[in-house]
Symmetry: C2
Subunit: 164 residues, 2 copies
């Protein structure tokens, strides 16, 4: 087990009634070669534009780019782990992919509460992903049902994953 | 290198001018524990609902469910690898998550061309993901710029990835 990753990670949430319009959270993720390889394996998208430096050098991007949907994965994690966090039920997500993401880009994923629908306990979130140059690489909107309970539990522990 | 996965995979595309309204493609993916672990590692979403059978047994689902955005990853792969395939530029994606996905579910990802915008070479695709019981688990719309060239190249080879 990878003690360092999750041993001390506790998952919590912001219950529906405590969410306020304009409330925001930002998380950071650096996109390394590891993320791109793992996303390729998981998704099955083996396009050389993401994985082959030599091939990518001869494209308009000049270097490998991350899979666009990796930003979707990061947004979904920010929702599930932070806002509203634990107990959220993901209903929908829209995304526009506005700029390429390169290896070693430092991404900031920002969620902002834009709407609450009390009857359904549904929250709408503006979602934005920007890089270290403050360029927005992806943006969209999520809708999520938030729990009304205050939750707290340990994150799952992942087995060790190695890339040869 | 994992010879079996990509040694004989060639990537091709359907050039913009050959795409027709109603044209469709379906791919199948079985969601194993491996996909869920790799998606958790890549995204950082360590919610026990996806990874801990004992925890999940006491939830409304009764068993672990896949991360919703895993369907997004599969949709993006169907676009990048099949319709339009190689050379596509992903512009946007919307998704509704309508049913839970469980371990060992066999998913069918179906894309259908619904609109073409000649000036931009932009294609709109209806996206649907259904399980082995013909229940739609996710659906949405993608917009993609398709290449006008006929492309053919070898898929990237991934290094071996092992889970302890």
């Amino acid at each position: 087990m990878r003690e360092t990753l999750s041993d001390h990670i506790m998952l919590s949430n912001i219950p529906y009634q405590d969410l306020t319009l304009g409330q925001t959270v930002s998380i950071e993720r650096v996109v390394t070669q590891r993320e791109i390889i793992l996303f390729a394996e998981t998704s099955g998208d083996l396009n050389p534009i993401h994985l082959d430096s030599e091939y990518a050098a001869n494209t308009v991007f000049g270097q490998p780019i991350a899979h666009g949907m990796l930003c979707g994965a990061f947004i979904s994690t920010a929702i599930a782990m932070h806002l509203p966090g634990q107990g959220s039920v993901y209903r929908s997500q829209s995304m526009k992919f506005t700029q390429p993401v390169f290896v070693n880009d430092r991404l900031t994923i920002t969620l902002t509460v834009t709407e609450k629908k009390d009857k359904l306990k549904l929250v709408k979130l503006a979602c934005s992903v920007s890089n270290q140059n403050q360029k927005v690489v992806a943006k969209g909107e999520a809708s999520v049902i938030a729990s009304e309970k205050t939750l707290m539990m340990a994150a799952a522990k992942l087995p060790e994953i190695t890339i040869k």
